[in-house]
Symmetry: C2
Subunit: 294 residues, 2 copies
């Protein structure tokens, strides 16, 4: 990875972790709920969504300090979705990022409630952020609820589980990923642009860019499940094939999936060039997302 | 029940059911998610929270049509909390309002996702309501997230489950109920007053009134579990004693619990008198809540 980008990621990851821990610490919660929410929030992860938001805002010369409350809310929603997805009734996972999943560390009831609480309080964070006008708060809340709710991420997760039992087309696979991961990734990018004061033409291009980022991210995830190193990733590889899950490599072959991804990377970089954002850290992040090994 | 009140309840229940079904129908969701969310939303129930909101707004001469989007959001959150509370890992209930619980009718994964989606979209409803200013939307979202999140209902549910394993005091019991059910009931009343344009003195009194309503509601729930008719209630009675759960009757005796409740009913009616709301349907609802048989 590019050194500037890797330093940037590290700095932003630390900043986000600090803000999220500080927010949870000042809430008055039962100790078990405190431990459980902090456990999953502090498990870290790439903080990709907040970083995409900040890089987009900076690329468009916005005041990027303003992204933090929206970025915290987004990361809380992302974390709740992982806690619930890992539950026995859903993906039934024991490890996440090399650590026990929330329901294994605590118990199922606690994990369900920790997820519910993180989801709910994400809207508390935005509605109480001092740096936003009421109009900005309403825009952010409406977009975030739409991206993560019944027509967004939640629908994608349900379709993903249903698809495990049947064979699907590449188009259906893209629709599922677009909902399950694409909508929140797109939210991060569109929000970064909105907070930089971008006009509607730029916001539309950023929406398309966000969709591409979501697809690139997901195809690489599927590719890593075939060829990845489980020690580096902190989770088992080969699980998709074991689960007979439809993936890009299973539908297109490994080389076909790589070509498919490279096409999207090219389209994403073309869009950045149209917005005069080539050469930025945002472009370097696109390269990284298409070639990451974890 | 007073005839005027019972006609009013019926009319408002129908109106709410219609609004909620129409909202869910126009969302673009996978069929299973559509069926599952509608199943629990249309299972009905008393719609007590929306009705409290509307009666409060009307009592203070507000434009009570404005309560509907907030009332819908509140009922969606209440419904999500019932779906998740019924899950095997939580209260493990098979029936609710005489019908199979969501996870029994569908499956656990679907029930978890239906709950997540209803919770998320409640914020979508408020943030997209045409009848509110941005300032009103932000007020409502902040209060709703606070009442139902990590410092509110979610905390109460966790404490309630923990309390099942140990003996607790009346004070601890009241704290749990205040969080688990009181916060949302108080939200409904304070929101009704806020949308009527009430001043801060009235809002403070309404907050105290809401707390009392929550306690009256819960004590009567506990009393009904001892002396109620399970056919009328649509759920088994005696389940608290079977579960060795701390309740008002178990801590104060049946007569002690009734006296305790009557004291709160008197305080609530005194507050209504201070606000010149005696003789209204709101006062009749207080009487009903303290004496209901289901």
């Amino acid at each position: 990875m590019d050194t500037n980008l890797s330093n940037y990621l590290k700095k932003e990851q630390d900043k986000l972790n600090e803000l999220l821990s500080a927010y949870l610490s000042k809430l008055s919660m039962p100790p078990l709920l405190n431990h459980s929410t902090k456990y999953s929030i502090e498990a870290g992860g790439k903080r990709l969504r907040p970083i995409l938001m900040k890089l987009t805002c900076e690329g468009l010369n916005g005041d990027s300090e303003k992204v933090y409350p929206a970025a915290m809310a987004l990361e809380m929603i992302h974390t709740y979705s992982l806690i619930h997805d890992d539950l026995p009734a859903m993906d039934n996972d024991t490890y996440r990022r090399g650590m026990l999943t929330n329901h294994k560390k605590f118990d199922e009831a606690t994990a369900i409630l920790a997820g519910d609480g993180l989801l709910t309080n994400s809207f508390h964070v935005i509605s109480n952020a001092a740096c936003y006008s009421d109009t900005e708060k309403v825009f952010l809340i409406s977009k975030l609820a739409s991206a993560s709710g019944l027509e967004g991420m939640v629908a994608g997760q349900l379709m993903d589980m249903q698809a495990e039992k049947e064979s699907i087309s590449v188009e259906q696979l893209e629709e599922i990923h677009q909902l399950k991961t694409g909508r929140l990734l797109t939210f991060s990018i569109v929000t970064g642009a909105y907070l930089a004061g971008a006009d509607s033409m730029i916001l539309q291009k950023m929406e398309r860019f966000g969709n591409l980022i979501g697809l690139i991210f997901q195809i690489q995830d599927d590719i890593l499940d075939v060829i990845g190193d489980s020690e580096i990733m902190g989770k088992a590889s080969g699980s998709d094939e074991d689960n007979q899950k439809s993936t890009y490599p299973s539908l297109l072959g490994l080389n076909g999936a790589i070509e498919h991804k490279n096409r999207y990377v090219k389209q994403a970089k073309n869009l950045l060039e149209e917005m005069e954002l080539n050469g930025t850290l945002l472009e370097k992040l696109v390269d990284y997302l298409g070639s990451r090994n974890q």
